[in-house]
C-alpha cells in the first residue's frame, strides 16, 4: 500500500515538480531579488530593466518604494525613510543624533509619516513586498520560499526584526543567510578558487561591514570566523564628507532638506572619486554664496583613514579567530568596495589583489538564490553544505553586573548548549535569567536580548537547586532559551523576540487585514499545504522502508505501516485537523527510525574514514 506512493504516477508527483526559491538581498541602500534558472542565478529586473531597488520608502499620499521614493527623498524628506536597515532591531540608545532625526518620541523606534507611525520593520516589509511582487510578475507564479540575507555581524535582535519584516510581507523564509557566506556561495569553486582554499570575504555595504574567513571544499563551505561592525558602511563615508563640507563652508545648523541635499552631493562626490583623481564641489544653489570646493582622491583617503582602519581591525581579529595567518583570496562584496581607498587597503592588508569578478552589488542576491533553490528542495544532494557560525558570544548575567559566557562567538550552527546554575540564597524561589550578546565583560556593554524569570523553585538551601539553562541557536542564528529546575521540573521557555519591533498580535492583525483581500481562500490553502506535507511524509517513509527497513523489528514496522494507512485514509477528507494530527502522529512515530538511519549513514561514512586512514599509513 505504501509503496504505491513512490511510484511515478502517485499523488506525490506534483510536489516533486521544480519549486521556486527566491534570494533576496535586503540592503541598507539597495535591495535585489534573484532566482536560479537552468543552473545559473539571475537577478530579476523591474519594468525599466533595473535590478537595484533603492531601499527607500515614501509614506506620502500613497506608499512609494524605490527610485520614485528616492526622488521624493529630496522634496519630501519628512515622509521618506532611507537606510531603515540601520535601525532594524535597535533601540534609541544605539543611535547617534543624525539617526534619531524624524523618529517619534517613544520607546519604540518609529518614524512619524503622513501614513502614521512606521517602524523599521514595516519599512523593510514594504521593500520586500515590492521585490516579491516583481518576481511573481516575471515568473508568473508564486514563490515557494525565500532566502533572505543579513549582515553576518547582525545580533539576534536584528535577525529577529528582519525575519519579522519578511513575515509581515507574507513571505515564507527558508533561511536567514549571512551576506558574506551568500557571496562565497556565488563564487563557489570557480576558476580562481580551488579546493581547500581559505578565503576572506570583505563586505562593505551601505550601512554594515562584515568580514568572514571561510574554507572552501567540495561538498562543504565552512565559515571559520566572522567579524564586523553592523553600524559601519558607505553611509558613514557620506556623513564624513558632509561634515567635511560643513566645516569648509562654515555651516553649523542644517535643515532636513539641506542635509539630504548635502548627503546626496557627498555620495556623488564619493562615487566620482572612484573614477577620477579629483573633483570640484560646487556650493549647492539653495545655499547662496558658498565658494566651490575641491577634493582629491588623496585627501579623501586621508579623511577616511579612520573608517578604513576600523574595518581592518575587524579583519585582524577575524583572522586570529580563524587561526589563519594568510588567505588564498580576498573577495570584495558590497557597493562601497568600489572605492579605490577600500581596494587598496584590502590588497595591502591581505597581500593579494582582491577578487571582484562578480558584480559586488549583485553577488549576495545571486548566492542567496542558489541557496534558496537548494533549501526549497530542488537540490540533488551534491551541493556544498554551508556551515556558518554565530557572530557574537551569548551569555547570562551573573552577580555584580558581570556576564558568564555560555556560547563563544564563532561557534558552529546549529547548536544547543546547557549550563547548570544554582540559587545564591537560602529559600530562594525565583531566578531572573538575563540573556546578553556581545564580547565585553559587563552587562551594560553588551546587547540585552531578553530577561525572564523562572519561578516556583521550591525553597531549598543556597546552592541546592539545580537550574539547567539551555541555549539553542538554529541555522538562521536565532536563539531560544529555556530554563528548568532539575529536582522539581519547574520550567520556563522563551523564544527571544525583539522588544522594540512589533508584537506577535500586531503582526497577526496586519497579516489578517492584508489577507482578507487575497484572492486565495486561506482555508483552501491550508488544506493544500496539509496534504502536501502528509504526502511528503508518506513518500519519504516508503523510500526509507525500502532502503533501510531491516533497521526495524516486525512490530515496529507494523506500527508505522498502520499509522501510515490511517493517514492515507484521511488524506482525501477536507478535515484539515485530522490530516495534520495523523501526520504528526506518523512523524513522531518515525523519529526513532530516522535516527537509526542517520546512525547507519554515519557509521558507514566513519568506516570509510578508518579505511582511508589505514591506506595512508601503508
Amino acid at each position: 500500500m505504501l509503496l504505491q506512493i513512490s511510484e511515478p504516477n502517485g499523488p506525490n508527483e506534483n510536489s516533486r515538480a521544480r519549486k521556486l526559491g527566491l534570494g533576496i538581498d535586503l540592503g541598507t541602500t539597495n535591495s535585489l531579488v534573484a532566482i536560479k534558472m537552468s543552473d545559473v542565478a539571475h537577478v530579476l529586473t523591474d519594468k525599466e530593466g533595473q535590478a537595484l531597488l533603492p531601499s527607500v520608502v515614501n509614506f506620502g499620499a500613497e506608499v512609494t518604494v524605490g527610485h520614485a521614493a528616492l526622488e521624493l527623498a529630496v522634496v519630501d524628506p519628512e515622509n521618506t525613510i532611507v537606510s531603515a536597515k540601520r535601525l532594524m532591531g535597535r533601540s534609541r540608545d544605539d543611535l547617534n543624533k543624525n539617526q534619531q532625526r524624524g523618529l517619534i518620541d517613544a520607546d519604540r523606534l518609529a518614524f512619524a509619516t503622513r501614513q502614521g507611525h512606521k517602524t523599521p520593520v514595516e519599512v523593510s516589509s514594504e521593500i520586500l513586498n515590492v521585490l516579491a511582487v516583481r518576481a511573481r510578475t516575471l515568473l508568473e507564479a508564486e514563490e515557494d520560499g525565500v532566502v533572505l540575507t543579513v549582515p553576518a555581524y547582525f545580533d539576534d535582535r536584528q535577525r529577529q526584526a528582519t525575519r519579522q519584516a519578511a513575515e509581515l510581507a507574507g513571505l515564507n523564509v527558508l533561511r536567514l543567510l549571512n551576506e558574506p557566506t551568500a557571496a562565497a556561495v556565488a563564487y563557489g569553486l570557480d576558476e580562481h578558487i580551488e579546493e581547500s582554499d581559505v578565503i576572506a570575504v570583505y563586505d562593505l555595504g551601505g550601512g554594515t561591514f562584515d568580514i568572514s574567513i571561510l574554507r572552501m571544499e567540495r561538498g562543504l563551505l565552512r565559515v571559520l570566523a566572522t567579524g564586523g561592525d553592523s553600524a559601519l558602511g558607505g553611509d558613514d563615508f557620506d556623513e564624513m564628507l558632509v561634515d567635511w563640507m560643513c566645516e569648509r563652508w562654515g555651516l553649523s545648523v542644517l535643515t532636513s532638506v539641506q542635509r539630504r541635499r548635502l548627503t546626496s552631493l557627498a555620495r556623488s562626490v564619493k562615487e566620482r572619486l572612484s573614477e577620477t583623481d579629483g573633483v570640484a564641489i560646487p556650493g549647492p544653489a539653495e545655499l547662496v554664496g558658498l565658494p566651490d570646493l575641491s577634493l582629491t582622491r588623496k585627501q579623501f583617503h586621508e579623511i577616511s583613514a579612520g573608517l578604513v582602519a576600523r574595518t581592518l581591525d575587524a579583519c585582524k581579529r577575524a583572522m586570529e579567530d580563524a587561526g589563519v595567518s594568510q588567505v588564498a583570496h580576498a573577495v570584495l562584496v558590497g557597493g562601497s568596495t568600489r572605492m579605490p581607498v577600500i581596494r587598496d587597503a584590502v590588497a595591502a592588508y591581505f597581500g593579494i589583489e582582491p577578487l571582484c569578478s562578480i558584480n559586488p552589488d549583485e553577488v549576495v542576491a545571486l548566492g542567496a538564490a542558489l541557496q534558496a533553490d537548494v533549501l526549497v528542495g530542488n537540490g540533488n544532494g551534491e551541493e556544498a553544505l554551508l556551515l556558518d557560525v554565530i557572530p557574537l558570544s551569548l551569555g547570562l548575567e551573573t552577580y555584580g553586573g558581570l556576564i558568564e559566557k555560555i556560547i563563544p562567538r564563532n561557534s558552529v550552527l546549529p547548536l544547543a548548549k546547557a549550563q547548570e546554575f544554582t540559587t545564591a540564597k537560602d529559600g530562594q524561589t525565583g531566578l531572573v535569567i538575563h540573556v546578553l550578546q556581545g564580547e565585553r565583560e559587563r552587562v551594560e556593554d553588551c546587547r540585552s536580548l531578553a530577561r525572564f524569570e523562572l519561578t516556583g523553585i521550591p525553597p531549598m538551601v543556597a546552592g541546592a537547586a539545580r537550574i539547567l539553562v539551555t541555549f539553542k541557536v538554529d541555522a538562521d542564528g536565532l536563539l531560544e532559551v529555556s530554563a528548568r529546575e532539575e529536582t522539581t521540573g519547574t520550567e520556563a521557555v522563551l523564544v527571544v523576540k525583539p522588544s522594540f519591533g512589533l508584537s506577535d498580535t500586531e503582526v497577526a492583525s496586519m497579516l489578517r487585514s492584508s489577507q482578507e483581500n487575497a484572492a486565495e481562500d486561506m482555508q483552501a490553502r491550508q488544506l493544500r499545504e496539509a496534504r502536501v506535507e502528509a504526502e511528503a511524509l508518506l513518500h519519504s517513509l516508503a523510500g526509507a522502508l525500502a532502503a533501510d527497513g531491516d533497521l526495524l523489528g516486525v512490530a515496529e514496522r507494523g506500527a508505522l505501516e498502520d499509522l501510515a494507512a490511517e493517514l492515507l485514509a484521511v488524506l482525501d477528507a477536507v478535515d484539515i485537523e485530522s490530516i495534520r494530527s495523523k501526520t504528526d502522529q506518523l512523524g513522531e512515530a518515525s523519529l526513532v527510525f530516522a535516527e537509526r538511519r542517520m546512525d547507519r549513514s554515519i557509521q558507514s561514512a566513519l568506516s570509510g574514514v578508518a579505511v582511508s586512514q589505514l591506506e595512508s599509513l601503508e
Binding site: 565552512r222 537548494v374 553544505l385 554551508l386 561557534s411 546549529p414 504528526d584 566513519l606
Partner: protein, 169 residues
C-alpha cells in the same frame, strides 16, 4: 551523559589527531545537517537539527585539549563544574601569578627574554598535558583531576601570552 568520543568512533584518550577528528566531523556533519534534509518532512528536519547540534557540541569539546581532558574526567564521574571552582596548590598559584605578571610586561622584555618566557610557558603547558595523560591512563582519577586543574590554568596562561604577543606586534 553522551560519550563524545563515540560520536566520532574514536578511542577515549587525551592525545588525539586533530586533523583526523576534523575529517570525521566534516563527514558526519554533511550527513546530518538540517539543510541536507531540505524538502524532507518536518519531523526529519527536526531530528537532523538536533543531531547536528549534538555533533557540533561534541566536536567543540573534543577539538580543545582542556575541554577534551575535562570530558574524559566527566565520563568517569568527576564533577567538572566543582573542579573548576577548586583552588590549585598555593605554590602552583604563586608561580602562575609570577608568570602572569611577566606576560603583562612582555613589551618591556628584550627579544631573548620574551622567547625564553614563551618557551617556558609552552613547556609548562605541554608538561601539564603529559601529566594529565599519565595519571589518566594510569587510572589515578584523583591525581588526574589535580593535573586537570593545573592544565586549565596553564591553558589560560598560553592564551594570555598569545594575546600579549599580538598587542606587542
Amino acid at each position: 551523559m553522551t560519550n563524545y568520543f563515540q560520536v566520532f568512533d574514536l578511542a577515549p584518550r587525551v592525545a588525539i589527531d586533530v586533523a583526523d577528528l576534523q575529517a570525521r566531523y566534516e563527514q558526519i556533519i554533511i550527513l546530518c545537517h538540517p539543510d541536507k534534509y531540505a524538502g524532507a518532512p518536518a519531523f526529519e528536519q527536526r531530528a537532523a537539527a538536533k543531531r547536528a547540534a549534538d555533533v557540533n557540541e561534541a566536536y567543540e569539546v573534543l577539538a580543545h585539549t582542556v575541554a577534551r581532558a575535562g570530558h574524559l574526567l566527566a565520563l568517569r564521574g568527576v564533577d567538572i563544574q566543582s573542579l573548576e571552582r577548586q583552588p590549585a596548590s598555593p605554590d602552583f598559584l604563586f608561580e602562575q601569578m609570577t608568570l602572569r605578571e611577566e606576560v603583562q610586561m612582555l613589551n618591556t622584555l628584550t627579544d631573548a627574554e620574551a622567547v625564553a618566557l614563551s618557551e617556558r610557558i609552552t613547556t609548562a603547558y605541554d608538561d601539564a598535558k603529559n601529566k594529565f595523560a599519565y595519571y589518566f591512563d594510569a587510572d589515578d582519577l584523583a591525581a588526574a583531576s589535580s593535573a586537570w586543574v593545573e592544565l586549565h590554568y596553564q591553558h589560560k596562561l598560553t592564551d594570555e601570552l598569545s594575546r600579549a604577543k599580538r598587542q606587542v606586534s
